[in-house]
């Protein structure tokens, strides 16, 4: 984690209300892993007192650039769209824990709902670099919100579902899972909580019969890794990248928690944003 100055290189609206910006930030471009995020300061401290967290969308170590992909939802994100090339901003990062891919995994299934693509996009690059096969299942409300395939690597298989049927499968992206779950060694998802919950339920009902989990029974079968450890996450079939309203992003304020199955709240910024799906209490949680 470092505070670094970044300079805007390019900014464009790739979908209605969704922006892709690239920044020159060499120290973030070399030191980050897929799933991590940056906490970016907005300009007007007197009006906006919080930084904005963004998934690291892609990195290019050779040119020292990183990209972020966001939707304008309020004054803060709006402010970023008014930046001009050359403008400096202040980023805290890389933050959080990354996706953990089992070394034996060859087939990675990435599931993204809407803007959730920004959470798993970097993983596609990392996986292809490491010689893995990647399928992205993408869900959106309608064709106008579908992430352009031109922004994805050629090696990726890209499957789209839309709620209104205007492009690809007519229905939810989760309905595409049965066709791919046998192929996938591991799955990684980011999107609305309802989508992640549905995926977590599917994964829970098939636990032990999917992905690398089925390969992992021979070695160390009797000694499970501690929940939340890197080793445990690496063996998990489904990892999810969670979203929560965030304050400090370093684990100090406890604002951005999700309830864990252990009964202890987990900090999205510190224990997450990536979790094994079975670390999270999906049904209810606080129960007070």
């Amino acid at each position: 984690m470092r505070l670094v100055g970044a300079e805007l290189l390019e900014s464009r609206e790739i979908l209605p209300g969704q922006w892709l910006q690239s920044y020159h930030a060499p120290r973030l471009a070399t030191g980050s892993r897929a799933g991590q995020f940056v906490h970016v300061r907005t300009g007007d401290l007197s009006g906006l007192v919080l930084r904005r967290p963004f998934s690291i969308n892609t990195v290019d170590a050779s040119s020292g650039t990183i990209t972020i992909h966001f939707r304008t939802v309020g004054r803060g994100t709006e402010w970023f769209t008014h930046l001009r090339p050359g403008d400096p901003i202040d980023m805290l990062g890389p933050l959080g824990r990354p996706f953990e891919v089992d070394p034996r995994s060859q087939h990675l299934l990435l599931i993204a709902g809407g803007l959730g693509i920004a959470g798993v996009r970097f993983l596609a690059d990392e996986a292809i670099r490491d010689g893995r096969q990647v399928t992205i299942l993408f869900g959106a409300a309608s064709a106008r919100d579908v992430y352009p395939s031109s922004l994805l690597p050629d090696e990726v298989e890209y499957v789209v579902a839309t709620d209104d049927g205007s492009m690809g499968h007519h229905g939810y992206v989760t309905e595409l899972i049965p066709a791919y779950e046998a192929w996938a060694d591991q799955a990684f998802a980011c999107g609305p909580e309802s989508m992640l919950r549905a995926l977590a339920r599917l994964a829970a009902t098939r636990r032990g019969r999917l992905g690398v989990a089925k390969l992992g029974r021979k070695r160390g079968a009797g000694r499970p890794d501690a929940a939340g450890s890197t080793a445990a996450r690496r063996k998990a079939f489904l990892q999810v990248s969670m979203e929560q309203r965030m304050g400090c992003a370093v684990g100090a304020c406890l604002g951005c928690v999700v309830m864990g199955t252990s009964g202890t709240p987990l900090r999205v910024c510190r224990e997450g944003p990536v979790f094994a799906s079975d670390e999270i209490e999906w049904e209810g949680g606080w129960g007070r």
Partner: protein
């Protein structure tokens, strides 16, 4: 039996019932001020020092004593709940350059805190309703006290509870632990035994919990005032008389936000505490009022984002300030404020920041805000 060892604190002027913050290593022009009659604030008129050179004094003394020997290396602290246990920001912040760290609110038993969402940004501020999530006092001592003992910066443990017995037990377990320099009582908690009313809104309840904690420990004791009261002065006075060494003013203002769909309040807990620049005028007013009625040090908190805010709070009688919400936007701010305060003294030809304290306080007490702000008979 725990070993009673102190690492940070030293025996203070306990015998004196009236304590004023004294600045150590002061030049002869700044002999620590002795006890003053009640109702006279801790104040010093601006005194110009003979300049050491054209650039002003080379070394500016920022040290301040809060009470019972708790000496802060400078008057810039980080506020409870915004800086975790001091370790979270890692290398981004050099904690040993801070004046003090108020750690996350600590309770007797572990608490999982409130449902989410827990934070919301609001114009010029934010709401939070973390709900005092913390691992409990024993876990806090076990996990962090050793680290704290290795730091130069004093760590003040913020304590919360829902009964007087709770507070007393937490403080007993902190008493004598190396690395713990003081206690800050969060009394804006519901007193479950008394129908859930906050301790902070009633002078008797606030004084009761302060006195009970005072009997349980010799650690320096700060008590954090709530702004959500009609008149803060009798409460502040009662807490001071009950034995607090210093007051922290103020805690967050109660507020709510509405969800984007307008179907319900936004926060999982409905109510949250407002902090940030939006509350600075309220905090200034309360520090101004409190500094005139107590003779123990007042530590100001509420919307500090730049040096001007620090100077404002000093001017209305605070001897130190806490930085909170602004850390989220700029974690390096508190350390920078230390340097900027020293520079500000230097350009004014001051060898200590102490002459900046209380310059805006009235010579004679004026009417309080509870008498009405705009309309006067």
């Amino acid at each position: 039996m725990k070993a009673k060892r102190r690492v940070v604190t030293t025996p203070g002027p306990v015998a004196s019932t009236r304590r004023t913050p004294t600045v150590r290593k002061a030049k002869s022009a700044f002999v620590p001020v002795g006890p003053k009659p009640l109702a006279q604030p801790v104040t010093n008129r601006m005194v110009a020092l003979p300049r050491d050179s054209e650039e002003g004094p080379a070394v500016v003394d920022l040290e301040v004593e809060i009470g019972r020997g708790l000496r802060l290396p400078n008057p810039i602290l980080v506020a409870s709940g915004t800086f975790g246990y001091g370790i979270e920001y890692g290398d981004v912040v050099d904690v040993d350059r801070l004046g003090g760290i108020c750690c996350k609110g600590t309770t007797l038993r572990p608490r999982i805190g409130n449902p989410t969402p827990r934070v919301a940004e609001t114009p010029g501020g934010m709401l939070n309703s973390i709900g005092l999530q913390n691992p409990g006092v024993d876990a806090v001592v076990e996990k962090y006290s050793e680290t704290w003992a290795g730091w130069r910066v004093p760590v003040i443990v913020n304590v919360a509870g829902e009964s007087v017995a709770d507070y007393v037990e937490v403080v007993r377990r902190l008493d004598g632990v190396p690395g713990i320099a003081g206690i800050e009582l969060n009394i804006s908690c519901p007193n479950v035994g008394r129908g859930g009313l906050q301790f902070a809104i009633d002078a008797d309840a606030a004084a009761g919990v302060t006195a009970a904690v005072r009997r349980a420990t010799d650690l320096p004791l700060l008590v954090k005032l709530s702004p959500n009261v009609a008149d803060v002065r009798p409460i502040a006075r009662a807490i001071a008389e009950a034995g607090a060494d210093a007051l922290t003013a103020v805690n967050t203002l109660s507020g709510i936000a509405v969800s984007p769909t307008r179907e319900r309040p936004l926060l999982g807990n409905i109510y949250g505490g407002l902090s940030g620049p939006a509350i600075k005028p309220v905090a200034l007013r309360i520090v101004y009022e409190v500094a005139q009625v107590v003779d123990i040090p007042v530590i100001a908190i509420g919307g500090v984002t730049e040096l001007a805010d620090v100077l404002d709070f000093l001017a209305v009688g605070a001897v130190a300030v806490q930085v909170g919400t602004a850390i989220f936007a700029d974690p390096t701010l508190p350390v920078r404020l230390v340097d900027e305060l020293a520079d500000a003294c230097r350009t004014r030809g001051l060898a200590s920041y102490r002459p900046l304290i209380g310059t805006a306080l009235p010579k004679r007490a004026g009417p309080p805000s509870s008498k009405g702000v705009e309309y006067r008979p």
